[in-house]
Subunit: 162 residues, 3 copies
């Protein structure tokens, strides 16, 4: 053996580093499932991404406390799009720091909604920055806290087409 | 040895988990090469991302069958941009599930094209959701099936500048 | 032991492959920190992402040489947004090739700036393609060279709201 590191400790280090990559992968996967759920109006699946006592500040001036309040607010703001329209959350540049069973994260948001997904441009669009805290539950990572800071905002009347 | 897991099985597990991370990395890399090829009008490189018998439903109402038909359709729809314009596929929020030599995936699309890349805004833009099936070939992963569902659509006459 | 690969070489291979995943993760993390710094107007943190002798061609016709010149150019072009506005760099589809202490990379850029982050649409937006060269320094990866090729460009007078 040429290695100066005892094999046992070496393997422990290797496992720890693999687990860190897996945790970051799992946190990115949580955000991807969050997007897929909310953009398909599946609020049950979306609710499973949040801790029961999660807190959300979506940059609208109020703070939502608890999974049920967070779901209700999204359901209300998105209901007009469920029939023929579309909603898209692009959440990228995901950066995570894992500390045991808690993690911090940040990301870029590009949001757009359209009253007619195959024919109409976005009637509303937002660019912003997310900050998150995550907790590890028995079935994986959950969002415990989220804060959205907007960078730009586009509002148009739903009937206007550019 | 403090570990309760036999070292042999432990290492097999470690390898399997590393390979899963590598497969997800390779699938993301396939999408990135796909983007780089199609946005630089390199249809030979783009064709290498698709299985020979791939099926593509790009949300335009028809289904393209076979690599050649898929390439021909893209070449036709993008040809007007090859001289001075630009085409950009942003494909993100990549989520993959690997099952041996087959994988499922989903992602967000933001597409924009412009008749003059340094001076003109997009004359066409699309937001949408991809679903994919991938197969592992002798030289790596290939796209076997893709389906695009649009979320929003912007169409402008090429000469209009906002 | 059922494996045909000698355990020692096997572990070396495993370590090398883990390190490659870690390097790609670290390079993505560099881009994410770059974004977080520049979009919060923290030019000291942003400067730490660049090699001292970095070269940047941002597609504006001139080439910036050295970290200080690169910082000065960004500070100048972004200063009008520091008060109430917002700046957002979305940099995605990150693809890296690592060769020892040097790496090549490419990615998609979506840039938008707004004179009033909670109320105004982007007054300027750019879509483009980055190509990078990175070098590994004593404290991690740094950007040594960057080149931006634009795909589309939106310019509006800051006072116009769509």
């Amino acid at each position: 053996m040429e290695s100066v590191v005892p094999p046992g400790r070496d393997l422990d280090d290797l496992w720890a580093r693999l687990r860190e990559l897996e945790d970051k992968q799992a946190l990115a996967s949580l955000i991807n499932r969050y997007i897929r759920a909310v953009d398909s109006f599946d609020y049950d699946a979306w609710g499973e991404c949040w801790a029961e006592d999660a807190i959300a500040d979506m940059g609208r001036g109020d703070t939502l406390v608890g999974r049920e309040a967070i779901i209700a607010a999204s359901r209300s703001s998105q209901s007009m799009f469920e029939d023929s329209g579309g909603v898209q959350h692009v959440i990228v540049n995901l950066e995570f720091e894992v500390h045991g069973d808690v993690a911090e994260g940040s990301g870029n948001l590009l949001f757009a909604s359209s009253p007619d997904s195959v024919a109409a441009p976005p009637n509303r669009a937002i660019g912003g920055k997310y900050r998150w805290t995550f907790v590890r539950g028995p079935h994986g990572w959950l969002i415990a806290h989220t804060q959205l800071h907007r960078t730009w905002t586009v509002r148009r009347a739903p009937s206007v087409r550019v």
